[in-house]
Symmetry: C2
Subunit: 112 residues, 2 copies
Amino acid sequence: MRPSQALRLWQQVLLSQVRDGEPDLTMRQTAILLTIYLDPPPHTVRGLAARLNVTKPVITRALDTMGALKLVSRHRDELDKRNVLIRRTVEGALFVERFGDGIVARAHELPI
Amino acid sequence: MRPSQALRLWQQVLLSQVRDGEPDLTMRQTAILLTIYLDPPPHTVRGLAARLNVTKPVITRALDTMGALKLVSRHRDELDKRNVLIRRTVEGALFVERFGDGIVARAHELPI
DNA sequence: GGGGACTGAAACGGAAGCGAAACAATTTGC
DNA sequence: GCAAATTGTTTCGCTTCCGTTTCAGTCCCC
């Protein structure tokens, strides 16, 4: 893949997301969402903050927003009640799946 | 490309952007930026709003933000003084170039 | 040359984000 | 048992964004 093709693909994917009125997540939020859905659980606030090199309130706020969108859910860890475990949701899985399919579709539409 | 690979690529690119402390643009802002740098000029507020299916103030505000970051610049159209022409900047071109190179690099790091 | 159309920006109230610091709740270690 | 450490959340003051509406400047055309 050449940089020009990569950029064009990125543009087309973003354009389709924006035009379809999908939630306007920030890069950080999208990075958190994909990490939750692609990396093996369990996921904690601390772990995500370390993985993204951001502060914990950034994660908390992103979870607030994405929780309201029902893209993720929070549950207190019963073994260590200080921890919060972040879990996937049906809606979030569908969103991520649609996103992945969208990338592949845009890739196929690209000029050679 | 399979959806799972596409998602993993997307995640890795976003993670590297976030970790490196690059500006945390929204999807909309990134879509606008890439459209300015990939689609042929001239670019106007109205044209971008139509291309992204958003309202004009959204474009105006995004240009405010990205102008402050020196990623784009605005110039009054001398032929039709109602128009504002959005132009690329050296800093913006470097940012987009770095972004494209980053995508390619992450793509090469992906497992098969 | 004057009324209507068009373009981009500004105003408004509300929502959400930021970093830094302070805060409960819980666990750990002595 | 109790101070210290750890986890996630909340608060603070500030900035940015949203959609809607309104506004100022410019062009067009009769």
